[in-house]
């Protein structure tokens, strides 16, 4: 075997009984890809069951499948042509097994959509076409099968071609070829059929060699989601698979969403021959980095100049295969690359019947086998790309209970992007304005506030403790008097968020979420502050100013700088 050969995964889809398994079985048979005895075994089974011989039995291995003459679950078989190796994926056509069809199709790069010439286009012919478009499979041929049943009629073939093209084009799926075949009789499978002299194209076997494989992902922006961090020996290895791009020893990298920057110290290996200075898309690797931050599964490593999107709200198209309906305001688990996060369906913008393309606007639920356009809100910010820019980091699954129940692709950002910065730990959240900058703008003759880039800081994240117009110490507390929460910053990292009631006096400064110093200098001050705060909470809002004037010193850690005019005031965190 030549290991440098190319491999292409092709899925075979279409309505139930239209001949998917037969096409594959026949291809394997005609290319002599079957082990000795396989055909004899199928003949024996057919005889035992008192049924005619079926090529489909070569794939439909379960007793239940053979008994009912139906594919239940997907399977994969390998065969080869002179040009390359193929993994050919059989998918079930019955509506009830759509989840299995998707499980098979999801790993394919190209597709053969089978349509029974006699029955014509049916419900699953269309639904599968739709699923292909959602999975991003753009290379497809339509095989019009069982031509023997329509006397190899060119006219009927053309009618099906026209009707299917209309449907698929509206989904932006453009089949590259239509091939008339009779799988059972082997017409136009490996050689051109003399029964259809009017067909001027290639037989299936030659046609699949014409599928052009996708270009590698090495040249795309680097996406390296952390899978795990190992400390088996004195090395602290960040392990994972590179989903796109290329990474080299010494490269400066950004870790998102925590926004940490460091450099690749080494690329690790076990056997000497695997030693390398450069790793790229598709590889399962391990690296060490120069600054030993706290890293964890789910974070994305990228180059500093090409970061992924970080957000907690986005738009997606998804297909639903759960037994229970997909509904709004219910907690689901979302898995995207190695990230796992709780999420809710913020809005169901549209539910689409995948077979009629009818839209239902503002539906409140999507049922099994539906396709929907939704807005998803995750509990914390996650990293991703739009599917059209990067398939691997632009798709996700939704888990309901124990099972994956939906799969989706990110189509864009929602309008309501996060607009504030916050510290968060699970359900506790403090909105902070302490990283805003204040300038006296000479051209306007007044003080102007410039907000920091909105960002969520989680436990362990480095925070921007020094800005242009503010400077906090490395260790301090942030006290949210409304929520009675305290965020503890230690060595410029968010260490913890606790309830105010669990805190006692510490000899480090405290600020409020606006950045004002809280005038606590001793344990007695702290006790008095706690009492005043308790009183404040029982009185009306009008007392807040008095409280603030007594306790807050807004300028202690700030200064106001002069500026000629407010041009290019967007600031980025320097961490």
């Amino acid at each position: 075997m030549d290991i440098a050969r190319e491999v292409l995964n092709i899925v075979v889809v279409g309505h139930v009984d239209h001949g998917k398994s037969t096409v594959i079985g026949r291809l394997l048979y005609d290319t002599k890809s079957l082990p000795e005895g396989a055909i004899d075994r199928v003949k024996k089974i057919a005889k035992e069951k008192g049924k005619p011989f079926e090529y489909a039995y070569l794939l439909d291995a379960f007793e239940e499948e053979q008994k009912q003459g139906i594919t239940i679950d997907t399977t994969q078989l390998q065969f080869r042509t002179d040009k390359r190796d193929y993994v050919i994926i059989d998918a079930p056509g019955h509506k009830e097994f759509l989840k299995n069809m998707i499980s098979g199709a999801a790993s394919a790069e190209a597709a053969l959509l089978i349509i029974d010439a006699n029955e014509g286009i049916q419900e699953q012919s269309k639904r599968h076409g739709y699923i292909l478009s959602l999975l991003g499979i753009q290379k497809a041929y339509v095989l019009v099968n069982k031509m023997d049943l329509i006397q190899y009629s060119e006219e009927k073939f053309n009618n099906i071609k026209q009707e299917m093209n209309e449907f698929l084009h509206s989904l932006h799926v453009y089949p590259l070829k239509y091939i008339p075949v009779s799988a059972f009789h082997g017409e136009n499978i490996t050689a051109l059929s003399d029964k259809m002299p009017w067909y001027k194209g290639e037989p299936v076997l030659e046609a699949i060699d014409l599928f052009e494989k996708d270009k590698g992902l090495e040249g795309k922006p680097l996406r390296f989601p952390i899978q795990d961090v190992y400390k088996f020996d004195n090395r602290r290895i960040i392990a994972g698979r590179i989903e796109a791009g290329t990474l080299k020893t010494g490269d400066e990298i950004l870790i998102s969403p925590s926004n940490k920057v460091t450099k690749v110290k080494s690329i690790e290996y076990w056997v000497e021959k695997d030693k390398t200075e450069s790793i790229s898309a598709g590889m399962s690797v391990g690296i060490t980095v120069e600054d030993e931050f706290f890293n964890q599964r789910g974070e994305f490593i990228s180059h500093t100049y090409d970061a992924p999107i970080t957000a907690d709200t986005f738009k997606a198209s998804l297909f639903w295969m759960g037994k229970n309906d997909l509904v709004k305001n219910k907690e689901y688990k979302l898995k995207l690359a190695t990230q796992e996060v709780e999420c809710e369906i913020y809005a169901i913008n549209k539910v689409i019947d995948a077979t009629t393309l009818e839209n239902l606007e503002n539906a409140s639920q999507a049922k099994t086998n539906d396709v929907a356009e939704v807005t998803i809100k995750t509990k914390r910010e996650i990293c991703f790309d739009e599917f059209k820019n990067n398939q691997n980091t632009g798709r996700f699954v939704i888990v309901d209970g124990y099972d994956v129940c939906g799969g989706g692709i990110v189509t864009g950002l929602a309008q309501e992007r996060q607009s504030v910065s916050k510290f968060s730990k699970q359900d506790d959240e403090i909105v902070v304005k302490c990283f805003d900058e204040y300038y006296y703008v000479l051209s306007e003759g007044g003080i102007k506030k410039v907000e920091g880039v909105p960002h969520s800081f989680n436990i362990g994240d480095v925070i921007p403790s020094t800005g242009v117009t503010y400077e906090y110490p490395a260790d301090f507390n942030v006290v949210d008097i409304k929520k009675r929460l305290v965020a503890k910053i230690r060595k410029s990292k968010l260490q913890d968020i606790t309830s105010f009631d669990e805190c006692s006096y510490e000899s480090i400064p405290s600020i409020d979420p606006q950045g004002a110093f809280i005038k606590i200098h001793s344990a007695e001050d702290f006790t008095k502050f706690a009492i005043d705060l308790a009183k404040l909470q029982q009185s009306e809002n009008s007392k807040i100013a008095a409280f603030a004037n007594e306790w807050f010193d807004f300028m202690k850690f700030r200064q106001i700088r002069y500026l000629n005019e407010t041009k290019s005031l967007e600031i980025e965190y320097q961490i």
Binding site: T75, S103, F232
Partner: protein, 266 residues
């Protein structure tokens, strides 16, 4: 990346997912070529370490060379080895003379089930491949088993985009299949490339060798003069005989493996 690089990278990704997701994880090591390749892949995935135990379900009908090889490799690779026998069945005289499938069920399936229960495994890594036989060709990479190790094969959970099944009720476990996508030839080409040491039985002596290793009474040898991995690869290129043709339990009836595997067989 070439073909073997891609297979290896995918297997390592799967092993790392299993290690991350399951607190109680073990790898089944049958001493054969496939699970020895998996052992090698685990060493690569974890940079020379093996952070979970290896399990050998010993039927006591194994060929003696296999046991010697097992114990030597376990030392050399520095792995934690759990050897388990279904002692009760053995004491009651279980053997292939009681019927091949009955014996397989008692000594392998039930033996395995006992290990799962005893160590409360949540994840079991197994070296099966799709190209071996029909019911394996329909497997998922992460495949759930209930508390009795049964496989509900007509209602498998969706698995897409490498998002594997990691949520399940307590008491169930997941069979993890890191080399499901490899074929027999890939295994040999990889052994050749990586120079992985195998038990001698795969190489011809006096014109015969084992192509697939199981228990002594139920595994036949094939005619062969292949004494190196390269020669085995050459031999496989020219054969049309199925890999498991020498495995008696597969031949019993058309759905023998499906039935065994439904009850928890590997």
């Amino acid at each position: 990346m070439d073909h073997l690089d891609r297979l290896e990278a995918q297997s390592i990704f799967i092993l790392r997912e299993a290690y991350k997701k399951f607190g109680k994880l073990g790898m089944l090591w049958s001493i054969g070529k496939d699970s020895t390749v998996m052992l090698w892949l685990a060493k690569k995935a974890f940079f020379g370490h093996c952070p979970f135990p290896f399990i050998h379900v010993d039927t006591t009908h194994k060929i003696p060379e296999m046991i010697a090889f097992r114990d030597r490799m376990a030392k050399e690779y520095n792995i934690e080895l759990i050897v388990h026998k279904n002692q009760e069945a053995l004491d009651a005289g279980m053997g292939p003379d009681k019927g091949r499938l009955v014996c397989c069920k008692a000594l392998k399936t039930d033996g395995l089930q006992q290990v799962v229960t005893k160590y409360e495994f949540e994840g079991l890594i197994l070296g099966i491949r799709r190209d071996e036989e029909g019911s394996r060709s329909k497997e998922r990479v992460f495949s759930e088993r209930n508390k009795d190790s049964e496989w509900d094969y007509t209602n498998q959970a969706p698995e897409l985009w490498d998002q594997f099944k990691t949520d399940f009720p307590k008491g169930n476990h997941i069979r993890v299949h890191p080399i499901l996508h490899w074929n027999e030839m890939d295994i040999w080409a990889y052994i050749e490339r990586e120079k992985i040491e195998l038990v001698d039985l795969y190489f011809a002596k006096n014109g015969k060798r084992y192509r697939s290793l199981g228990c002594a009474p139920c595994t036949g040898q094939i005619d062969s003069n292949a004494v190196t991995v390269a020669q085995i690869i050459e031999e496989l290129k020219n054969t049309k005989v199925g890999e498991r043709a020498g495995r008696a339990q597969d031949q019993e009836d058309s759905y023998a493996m499906q039935k065994l595997r439904k009850d928890g067989y590997m």
